[in-house]
């Protein structure tokens, strides 16, 4: 980053980072690394679910007292874009990223990505019986045995639906989903992690739409769980980071975004168990073929997907 920006940022002294990244392992180490690199600028972490953070930003905007500088999140980008609340900014370090990891219009850059994959309990399901393709999920033996987290975000059933539609096309996709709905998928009213834990605990043998890195973490601890690189492609969601329009500390915000996307930042995220946006830091074994749900795609279709969920799976 150029010195002018650093100076301006140092003058601002702090940056308010609204983030749903895991605190202990990602957010605080990242903030600490930034603070070490740029002494004099402190990172104020405002943590929460992306939904909660969006509510807050919404109210701040409505009251005209924006507090957030930098925000992180996937599903929120479309909403904020619609509200014209994002300041376009392309950090210099974004040059390291592939094209699908940054917004063509410069509104956002990817920070981390996630793979949404099915996971099964290896004690309950032998590896050879585990589903390999989308079609396998329709096997009657899975009736009532598949769970998913009933969160209405790209990371939940709507994202799965979007992927299916994207992979198979509207017509065939709908036909597939109809069949899938006859499997009586259990709506676990919690997030993906809890659903995965229930698989590990043996409550359900198989879950859809879980984060692959969660399974990786648990596997390391010895948990009887395995994720599946469902053929042809699993879902890939992008968590992006961006600068708020009218941010109270725009320069510090820019500097921080630049840091996140830089190698130093990406390394911290990789160490925390996340899958960084920069493929350089990814473990190729753990990067399946994926269908990317970009923010623009989500922005365009999320409501349709939710409607399909409401119709078929609720």
């Amino acid at each position: 980053a150029d010195q002018a920006l650093i100076d301006a940022a140092t003058k601002e002294g702090s940056v308010n980072w609204y983030t749903s990244l895991i605190q202990d392992q990602a957010a605080r180490p990242l903030a600490r690394a930034f603070e070490e690199k740029y002494p004099g600028i402190s990172v104020e972490i405002i943590a929460g679910k992306s939904a909660d953070l969006l509510l807050k930003i919404n109210d701040e905007l409505a009251a005209g007292r924006l507090h957030a500088d930098v925000h992180h999140g996937g599903s929120v980008v479309p909403k904020l874009l619609a509200m014209d609340a994002i300041q376009p900014y392309v950090p210099p370090s974004a040059a390291n990223l592939p094209d699908d990891m940054k917004d063509p219009d410069g509104y956002w850059v990817a920070e981390v990505v996630s793979f949404l994959v099915p996971a099964y309990n290896t004690d309950m399901v032998p590896a050879e019986e585990a589903p390999k393709t989308y079609e396998d999920l329709l096997d009657p033996k899975w009736k009532g045995a598949i769970a998913w987290a009933a969160t209405m975000t790209q990371g939940g059933p709507p994202g799965f639906i979007g992927t299916v539609l994207g992979l198979m096309g509207q017509e065939k996709g709908m036909e597939y989903l109809r069949k899938l709905s006859e499997q009586n998928i259990v709506n676990v009213p919690a997030n993906q992690r809890v659903t995965l834990d229930q698989v590990i605990a043996g409550e359900y043998p198989l879950a859809l739409s879980t984060f692959s890195h969660h399974t990786d973490i648990s596997q390391e601890d010895g948990a009887p769980v395995q994720w599946i690189a469902l053929q042809p492609k699993v879902t890939n969601t992008i968590d992006s980071t961006f600068l708020m329009k009218g941010a109270p500390h725009p320069n510090a915000g820019k500097l921080f975004i630049d840091f996140i996307v830089s190698d130093a930042g990406q390394k911290v995220l990789a160490d925390a168990g996340y899958i960084p946006a920069n493929p350089k830091f990814r473990n190729p074994e753990r990067s399946p073929e994926a269908f990317a749900l970009t923010p623009s795609l989500v922005a365009a279709h999320l409501n349709d997907w939710v409607a399909i969920y409401d119709e078929l799976f609720k």
Binding site: D24, D52, L55, E60, M152, V188, R193, Q198, D221, G222
Partner: protein, 552 residues
């Protein structure tokens, strides 16, 4: 005049969020326009009839469970010489200190399909059908009921503690057995407390999210709130639906509170602390002492031991897994080391204790005065009870949003500070304070206050020197309850947390959503221990205080 001041204070606290609630209920979140669309949606629900019945059955059942267990145990502990009485307090305080998600998950863990009970059954019979299905209305009733047992226990305990033994002894002399005495004298005298509590818990259950959602949705049981939960988990949450529901609930509780007002209209009828021969003496259960002890132990097992064991288990296993001998091999204290070595939590703990204790103290103080005004029918105190009870219907997240909006519009830098959280806690827990304070005031015979007035005490003097000390057991119980509940309150704390005002609950939530179930459990256990120590200390101090006053 003082009534007016108090009414204004409470109104200033309660009404802005209420206004926000009503406003939110009129917003159509799909396009941001105003209208009745949320109400229309609420009533257009095709299965409204069925879900209403489900909800009412669930709420009523759970209310019965908690009242039955809580009141029973409270009576045994406060009014008899059964053994193990101290255990009930430990149970209550520790289980109140345990975060609710952990608690509910503990139960799911125990009774779920993979739980020890069902696995044992499966191993025994080979049947794939589980023995108990927690994902059913009875399961939900049981777990929701157990969740509220501590509230009932603390409140009834405080009420029973101050009952005049003479009245019960007179019943015994008339030939009534212990049971008949309880049924015909002890319980009716505690009627305002019990009715108030029943109404309160019923409403709370009716609008509960967690258990209905955590257990009902996987089981395919739809309650009134299930749908609302879904709309609230969208991005951004559609708060309109929930708010509309809350507004409807307000109408409903107003009706219930009106009837409650009629039940408790004549305070004199429930006055058991009199100025003549008042002796709070326990019953001698005789041979049935051990039955009483058994009930206390059972209470301990159900409300504390079982779920805590589940949580404890989770905190020492590297990942979530069922009880098994195999798992004993790789138990680990890693989660504890992790939590204990991070000084970050110290800061969070301090924030939590600060916000929770401020909220509890102010809430108890306000409601004690409000209850006194209301019970003694001070002029213009008519609406106080209703006003104070209003926040009971605010869904946490709605209140949180309202607080954000209010804070953003106030000139002082309230936004993002711990004080905002404390104020939100205060508003949220005012109704709980009232539940403890009101029956306590009713127990005090009017003449005790009159005698103080005659002696020259001013109204504040009477309140401070006679009413407060006599109501102290209930107020202390209320304080404990609010403190412990606020300390683990999630939705508000998460929403209102600023960079420097996070609470333990926020940290737990964060870990929870990020898959650190083991760490959450460990943190939960540590937190429970800390809270139990706090509460135990508080309890001990107040008990010593009572003793020195010679009422123990």
């Amino acid at each position: 005049m003082p009534t007016v001041v108090l009414t204004v204070i409470i109104a200033v606290l309660v009404l802005p969020p209420l206004a926000m609630l009503v406003r939110t209920s009129l917003i159509d979140y799909s396009d941001g326009s105003f209208g009745l669309v949320n109400y229309r949606k609420l009533f257009a629900e095709p299965e409204l009839y069925l879900t209403t019945i489900n909800s009412v059955v669930f709420a009523a059942g759970a209310t019965c469970v908690s009242l039955l267990i809580g009141a029973c145990v409270a009576w045994i502990v406060e009014r008899t010489n059964a053994p193990f009485r101290g255990l009930a307090y430990v149970t209550t305080i520790v289980s109140l200190g345990t975060p609710a998600i952990l608690y509910v998950c503990g139960w799911i863990f125990l009774l779920g399909r993979a739980g020890p009970l069902n696995s044992a059954w499966r191993a025994l019979t080979g049947s794939f059908q589980p023995l108990v299905n927690v994902y059913s209305i009875p399961g939900m009733i049981l777990i929701e009921g157990l969740l509220w047992v501590p509230l009932v226990f603390l409140l009834c305990g405080a009420t029973f503690k101050r009952q005049n033994a003479d009245l019960e002894e007179a019943a015994r002399m008339s030939g009534a057995s212990v049971i008949a005495t309880v049924r015909r004298v002890s319980l009716p005298l505690a009627k305002p407390a019990l009715y108030g509590l029943a109404i309160f818990i019923f409403i709370r259950n009716l609008e509960a999210f967690d258990v209905p959602v955590l257990l009902g949705m996987p089981g395919g049981i739809k309650l009134l709130t299930s749908d609302i939960y879904l709309t609230m988990t969208r991005v951004p949450p559609d708060l309109g639906h929930a708010s509309a529901f809350a507004v409807v609930m307000i109408a409903f509780i107003s009706v219930l509170l009106y009837f409650y007002g009629r039940v408790s209209a004549n305070a004199d009828r429930f006055a058991s602390i009199t100025g003549k021969g008042f002796r709070p003496r326990p019953f001698d259960l005789g041979r049935f002492r051990w039955v009483g002890g058994l009930v206390v132990v059972l209470h301990f097992t159900l409300v504390l031991a079982l779920p805590i064991i589940a949580v404890l288990w989770n905190s020492i296993t590297p990942f979530v897994r069922a009880f098994s001998v195999k798992a004993l091999g790789n138990l680990t204290l890693r989660n504890y080391t992790y939590v204990l070595t991070d000084s970050h939590y110290l800061h969070l703990a301090w924030n939590t204790v600060l916000a929770a204790s401020v909220a509890a103290t102010v809430a108890v103080a306000l409601t004690a005065v409000a209850a006194w005004f209301a019970v003694r029918r001070w002029p213009a105190s008519g609406g106080l009870t209703q006003l104070v009870s209003l926040p009971i219907v605010f869904p946490g997240i709605v209140l949180g949003v309202a607080m954000i909006q209010i804070a953003l519009r106030t000139p002082f830098g309230l936004y993002g500070t711990i004080w905002l959280i404390a104020i939100a806690f205060l508003i949220r827990y005012l109704p709980y304070g009232m539940r403890y304070a009101q029956p306590a005031m009713m127990q005090i015979h009017r003449e005790l206050e009159e005698a103080a007035g005659i002696s020259g005490a001013t109204q504040p003097g009477i309140f401070r020197r006679v009413v407060l000390p006599l109501a102290a057991p209930a107020l202390i119980a209320g304080w404990l309850f609010i403190f412990l509940l606020a300390a683990k309150e999630l939705s508000i704390a998460v929403l209102l947390a600023g960079a420097r005002s996070k609470t333990i609950a926020v940290a737990m939530f964060d870990q929870w959503t990020n898959g650190e179930a083991g760490e959450v459990a460990a943190l939960g256990i540590i937190w429970t221990i800390v809270m139990s120590c706090c509460a135990g200390l508080m309890h001990y101090l107040s008990r010593g205080d009572m003793k020195s006053r010679g009422t123990q």
